[in-house]
């Protein structure tokens, strides 16, 4: 279908070509910088810690371990197994602590409470503490991200 007149002037076309290509070149220069300013995630895929440190815990007690840059908590259950949490409050990312007498996790920032299984029971936290998968391999405890 042949048009009776041009849709736009040659000038406008060339201007958009220059502008558009310049923008694309500029974006090509900027994109590595944009990638650079967000460092890759620092959370480890798994953490290994000697079993000996945690063997003699009584049930319903909690001990801390390092989960990358965040605190982790290992809780001994009744049947001698472990459950692991990421000790970071689901409200606004403050680190939580375990109050042994109450068997609850407490977040001091806005007075949030989690029970001993990580379930959010009081205060602003909207979700339970994040769980991690624990397994015993030889003399080491392997803690992984839950699938």
């Amino acid at each position: 279908m042949k048009l009776p007149y041009s849709l736009f002037s040659r000038r406008a076309f060339l201007n958009s070509l220059i502008g558009g290509w310049l923008a694309a070149l500029g974006a090509a220069f900027i994109s590595p910088l944009v990638k650079y300013i967000v460092p890759p995630t620092r959370e480890p895929d798994q953490v290994s810690t000697p079993l000996a440190d945690f063997e003699n815990m009584a049930p319903h007690t909690v001990k801390g371990f390092a989960w990358g840059n965040k605190p982790g908590f290992l809780k001994k259950t009744d049947d001698g197994g472990f459950i692991a949490f990421v000790g970071v409050c689901t409200h606004l990312d403050c680190n939580v602590s375990f109050v042994a007498e109450q068997r609850r996790f407490y977040c001091a920032c806005h007075e949030g409470w989690y029970d001993e299984n990580g379930l959010n029971v009081a205060g602003p936290p909207p979700a339970p503490l994040r769980r991690l998968a624990v397994s015993v391999e030889g003399d080491a405890l392997i803690i992984k991200k839950q699938a």
Binding site: F29, L33, Y36, P39, P40
Partner: protein, 352 residues
């Protein structure tokens, strides 16, 4: 769009600036290409600031962490090696252009009245650029940086009276230590940028105020020198030059990225084959070949004094050559060529 323009115009009155730029003319002659050098320096300075800030996101300026943080930038951060490579290469390009700019002005005698102040701020900017290079070189804190800084900060000691004190000020003490690193860092990211911005402001204002100078031969032709309007004729040509420079920068940065050496050890002997950055090579070589004793006095002191005299002469050139514009200035031209040949010759010699 026009509403926005009117809003800004009512409050900032920028039409004075844009009106000036719209009318600005650039003389057109066989040396017009020299006019590109100044703005190209600005281009690379902006690149330096951007990449420098980005490097500063992850660099840690302490004795314990400096080298490790640079290694981290190059290995862990996405395209960190490229950011560092661009910063390093852009420094080279910028300083090369500063030298080219200086030579262009010297050859065309553009430092003469009324442009003396422009020249003086320009030489101060040259000093600032070299200081940027010198302070930046220490920051990765590898063997080569430490050795180069030790040598570089040792030089002022040879000066009479203030020498040893000057060295102590530069090094933050008698030796190059973590304190030296902190001092160099704050100079590189704060003191020198502020000083450079101030000098650039004065320099640019003066350049716009006086307009572009025309080499004497052109003026002697008797007719009005043909001109190019700055916008859009000269500006578009300049954009083309910038594009090519950016392409060269990207190519160098990608294909010849710098590495990093092992962490500096304050107790270790100097590594083999130390040399400063290319822009200091000719000074380095001069010091190497200067006789140890001259007329019974310390040779190094002589060499440093001669270098300082040279720098002073450079700074005060418009007051040394204050002849009227009509005189061709053959002596200065010859001196400029000699200086260039000397610098290139000594640099090549130092690499052999």
């Amino acid at each position: 769009m026009n509403v926005l323009r009117a809003w800004i115009e009512d409050r900032l009155g920028l039409s004075a600036v844009t009106g000036f730029l719209a009318k600005k003319d650039v003389p057109r002659h066989k040396h017009t290409f020299l006019y590109y050098t100044g703005s190209s320096i600005l281009l690379f300075l902006v690149i330096q600031i951007v990449t420098g800030v980005l490097l500063g996101f992850y660099y840690q300026p302490t004795l314990a962490e400096a080298n490790a943080s640079v290694v981290r930038i190059m290995t862990e951060m996405p395209l960190g090696w490229l950011v560092r490579s661009v910063h390093s290469w852009s420094a080279t390009f910028m300083i090369a252009l500063v030298f080219a700019h200086l030579l262009g002005i010297a050859f065309t005698k553009a430092y003469r009245k009324p442009r003396e102040a422009t020249w003086v701020t320009g030489v101060l900017l040259l000093g600032a650029s070299l200081a940027f290079g010198f302070t930046g070189y220490l920051l990765p804190w590898d063997e080569l940086s430490l050795a180069a800084t030790k040598v570089g900060t040792d030089l002022p000691k040879a000066l009479p009276v203030v020498g040893p004190w000057l060295t102590q000020v530069m090094r933050a003490g008698g030796d190059v230590t973590g304190d030296t690193l902190s001092r160099f860092f704050i100079f590189h990211v704060s003191v020198l940028p502020l000083a450079a911005m101030a000098f650039i402001g004065v320099h640019l204002f003066l350049v716009q105020r006086h307009g572009m100078s025309v080499p004497h031969e052109e003026e002697r032709k008797g007719v009005n020198v043909p001109v190019l309007p700055f916008w859009p004729n000269f500006a578009f040509r300049e954009a083309g030059v910038w594009l090519v420079l950016l392409g060269l920068l990207t190519t160098s940065a990608v294909l010849a990225a710098p590495g990093i050496g092992p962490q500096a050890d304050l107790m270790a002997p100097a590594p083999q084959g130390i040399k400063p950055e290319w822009y200091f090579l000719f000074m380095f070589q001069t010091l190497k070949v200067f006789p140890a004793r001259v007329l019974g006095l310390n040779g190094e002191m002589f060499a440093v004094l001669i270098m300082m005299a040279g720098m002073a002469a450079l700074l005060l050139l418009p007051f040394i050559d204050n002849r009227p514009f009509e005189r061709k200035g053959k002596v200065i031209t010859a001196l400029a060529w000699t200086g260039l040949a000397y610098a290139i010759g000594m640099s090549i010699w130092s690499l052999l």
